[in-house]
């Protein structure tokens, strides 16, 4: 009966294995990786598998029920002000605790850390409230995106060049593995108890709207402070020679990430407790389950973050550096595309998204199709990002057409796919992107001597953008197919006369003449 745990670990195994094999293959062929780095990477992969399995289980048992529960109770209360204020507060507290935001803040020395963290937090808070109000007042999702992305691109004109890539990255970075399941469940919950026909479509899109908050916040800060230089945390690759060195690296990492994860989850626990006291939604048994689930989430995320930060980061950086040094460094583009295709499954929040999509659509949008669309999107984004690293083309040439295409598509595909697509942008750019793909780009950028702030950063923004297009294209093809099917069936229906056959009536009319005469089995409770 431990089926669900085994299932989750299996899922994690099949998600992490492909990228592990690719890196191993690279390390024995064209990238002569030091054995210490390889050992760090392999240990990291093991931690990743266990961590991801536990995280996925924790999301199912704790994060999703909490998020859904809170939004259902808020919707039921029918108080718009309460819903708006609660969404805002929730958005702020889960964002300021997100570990990735702290890292981002350190990267911008010219803006004081607390200012940046709070501005981004308030940005997400405002946008979560906007997302909730949008659902209530039935404002079209596409309109919201047009309005705010236009604002984003207009503001970007006034911001120092070195700053832009980082601002766009921040949108993907701050919607991390804790925020995503929670906000997603929040949207699904609001839709769950409504009985109008749009409710399913409105289940998604919250993460997508929330991703705009950080971008706007950082752009505004960029205009205000007008920083001449942005800095990034230099990557220091530890020297590891023995197995003991490897163990020490991981042991050093554990407490750091334990603290980060606990700090990030704490506000959610507090909010949950206050909510439970006020609403008494959950039964005693459910509360115990939620706390066990939170424990899974914490342990899972600690193992995952330790694994990627200690194990994957040096490997990514090294691969990027070595490949870009080669005379045939164009190989980074196809290799990046292959890595991108397979690495998406290793993002923990992706499985949460795919599962929610499958459940909300009652299996009509299967996990497999979601995964393929995300993989293709990721592959394209890595190809573009690597091209940018090697050539130094401005990020605007990719982002502006990309977002215009994404928004244009939103007018022709069914609304539910637009919501899912914009959500998956935030989902795809998680910790794996930040700790493996970004170092890969930075490593490559160092080797070719490019501008790291302009060329290497921006990879997260790419990763967050391409799924918007691929998921919507998938939705377009998919909905066409379903429409064709239903049209065939309904075409047949109109050809025949349709009526209701009542077995009991028929049986009475033709007593004894029908071979399969139908009888109800008698009352047998006595």
């Amino acid at each position: 009966m431990k089926k669900s745990l085994v299932e989750k670990i299996n899922e994690a195994l099949s998600s992490v294995l492909p990228i592990t094999i690719i890196v191993l293959l690279l390390s024995i062929t064209i990238v002569d990786m030091p054995i210490g780095t390889t050992l760090l990477f392999l240990t990291g992969a093991v931690l990743l598998i266990i961590g991801m399995g536990l995280f996925a289980l924790g999301a199912d048992v704790a994060m999703i029920p909490i998020g859904e529960g809170i939004s259902i109770q808020l919707t039921k209360s029918k108080k718009i002000l309460l819903l708006t204020v609660a969404s805002f507060i929730l958005g702020v507290i889960i964002t300021i605790a997100e570990p990735d935001l702290q890292v981002l803040a350190h990267q911008v020395p010219s803006i004081p850390d607390p200012v940046l963290i709070w501005t981004v937090g308030i940005g997400v808070g405002i946008f979560l409230a906007i997302a909730a109000l949008r659902i209530l007042f039935k404002i079209d999702l596409s309109l919201v995106f047009i309005l705010f992305y236009t604002l984003v691109f207009v503001l970007a004109i006034f911001v120092p060049k070195d700053f832009i890539a980082m601002a766009f990255d921040s949108g993907g970075v701050t919607t991390g593995p804790i925020t995503v399941p929670f906000i997603m469940a929040f949207g699904v919950g609001m839709a769950l108890i409504r009985s109008d026909k749009d409710s399913q479509d409105d289940s998604f899109g919250l993460v997508g709207i929330c991703s705009i908050g950080p971008i706007l916040a950082i752009l505004i800060l960029g205009i205000w402070y007008n920083p001449t230089n942005a800095d990034y945390a230099a990557i220091s690759v530890p020297d590891v020679f023995t197995t003991r060195d490897v163990a020490i690296e991981f042991i050093k990492g554990l407490p750091i990430y334990t603290k980060e994860v606990c700090l990030a989850i704490l506000p959610i626990i507090l909010f949950f407790l206050i909510f439970q006291v006020l609403s008494k939604r959950f039964t005693r048994r459910e509360i115990i389950k939620v706390f066990v689930g939170l424990l899974y989430t914490i342990v899972g995320l600690v193992l995952f973050l330790t694994g990627v930060n200690v194990g994957f980061l040096p490997a990514g950086h090294y691969i990027g550096k070595v490949l870009a040094e080669k005379p045939y460094n164009w190989i980074l583009i196809p290799l990046g595309m292959i890595i991108g295709y397979f690495i998406i499954t290793a993002e923990p929040a992706v499985h949460v998204l795919n599962k929610q999509v499958e459940e909300v659509s009652k299996g009509a949008i299967p996990k497999k199709i979601m995964m393929i669309s995300l993989s293709i999107g990721m592959s394209i984004s890595l190809g573009l990002a690597m091209t940018r690293v090697l050539t130094g083309i401005s990020i605007f040439y990719f982002l502006i057409p990309g977002y215009i295409l994404a928004i244009a598509l939103s007018f022709i595909v069914p609304k539910i796919f637009t919501g899912i697509a914009f959500d998956s942008g935030g989902v795809a750019s998680g910790p794996m992107t930040a700790t493996f793909l970004l170092p890969l780009a930075i490593g490559a950028c160092e080797s070719v001597g490019g501008n790291i702030m302009r060329d290497a950063f921006g990879i997260v923004a790419m990763v967050a953008m391409t799924p918007l297009i691929t998921i919507q294209v998938m939705g377009f093809i998919y909905s066409r197919k379903i429409k064709e099917q239903t049209e065939i069936i309904s075409g047949e229906v109109f050809l025949v006369e349709d009526e209701i056959i009542d077995y009991e009536e028929v049986a009475e009319d033709e007593k004894g003449t029908t071979p399969n005469e139908y009888k109800i089995s008698g009352d047998n409770s006595k």
């Binding site: 056959i501 399969n516 109800i520």
Partner: protein, 233 residues
């Protein structure tokens, strides 16, 4: 029109399997030209409280509802046995419930290859040994229902999350009606145990309790996948 077409008895075949195996069920049905099926999600109930607390007790389930003419049920059950070995513990449960009305178009679809079957092959409906109990309660009370049912001899159940619809008291919020969250618990049991199980559930989760439970039971014609008595060999 009504008199001309063959009238066959049709049953509703419900299959409960682990999540992801619903497609397999649909494939088996399609092979027998049974093309009308619907899938929805539910989850099993935990075997023990400890497993439940640990969050690893409830396996997620696919529930497939298929419409099939009675004479095809033996064939269908045989296919389930040979193609996916459904009798293996934990693999799944199939049962059928007789239906009392249907629209004629669906009937025609199902009767496409219907051959008149002789009297001898008519199945005797009174011969059912199992019953299906359905309990509709307020959200969060599935544990209470299952605990009560188990105390009276039930072995397990399947939980489906749902919401109310059409309630007169449904509340409106900005023009959108907000529905109550409901949970449906489905329990298969032997005929002789049914009464006690329903009594126990009614006591703990009936209409007079906070769970506001609505209980019904219906006869099951054929069943496969529960250890012990099965009405088809």
């Amino acid at each position: 029109m009504k008199k001309e077409q063959p009238l066959m008895s049709i049953k509703l075949v419900a299959t409960i399997v682990n999540r992801g195996h619903g497609e397999e069920i649909a494939r088996i049905c399609n092979k027998l030209d049974l093309n009308v099926h619907f899938l929805f999600f539910g989850h099993g109930t935990a075997n023990s409280e400890i497993l439940d607390y640990l969050g690893i007790g409830e396996a997620e389930k696919d529930i497939v509802i298929t419409l099939a003419p009675s004479h095809k049920i033996p064939q269908l059950f045989k296919a389930f046995l040979t193609d996916m070995d459904i009798r293996k513990p934990g693999k799944g449960i199939v049962f059928t419930v007789p239906i009392t009305g249907i629209n004629s178009f669906i009937m025609q679809l199902l009767a496409a290859d219907y051959e008149k079957i002789g009297e001898g092959e008519v199945m005797d409906m009174d011969n059912t040994k199992y019953e299906l109990i359905l309990v509709v309660v307020n959200r969060g009370y599935s544990d209470v229902v299952m605990d009560a049912a188990k105390s009276a001899g039930a072995r397990g159940g399947t939980v489906i999350e749902a919401r109310g619809i059409g309630y007169e008291e449904a509340e409106k919020f900005l023009g959108v009606s907000i529905q109550a969250e409901k949970t449906i618990v489905a329990i298969l049991c032997k005929k002789e145990e049914k009464h006690n199980i329903m009594l126990a559930i009614n006591k703990e989760a009936g209409l007079k309790t906070q769970a506001r439970g609505v209980l019904i039971s219906m006869p099951v014609s054929d069943i496969l996948g529960i250890n012990g008595l099965e009405s088809i060999d």
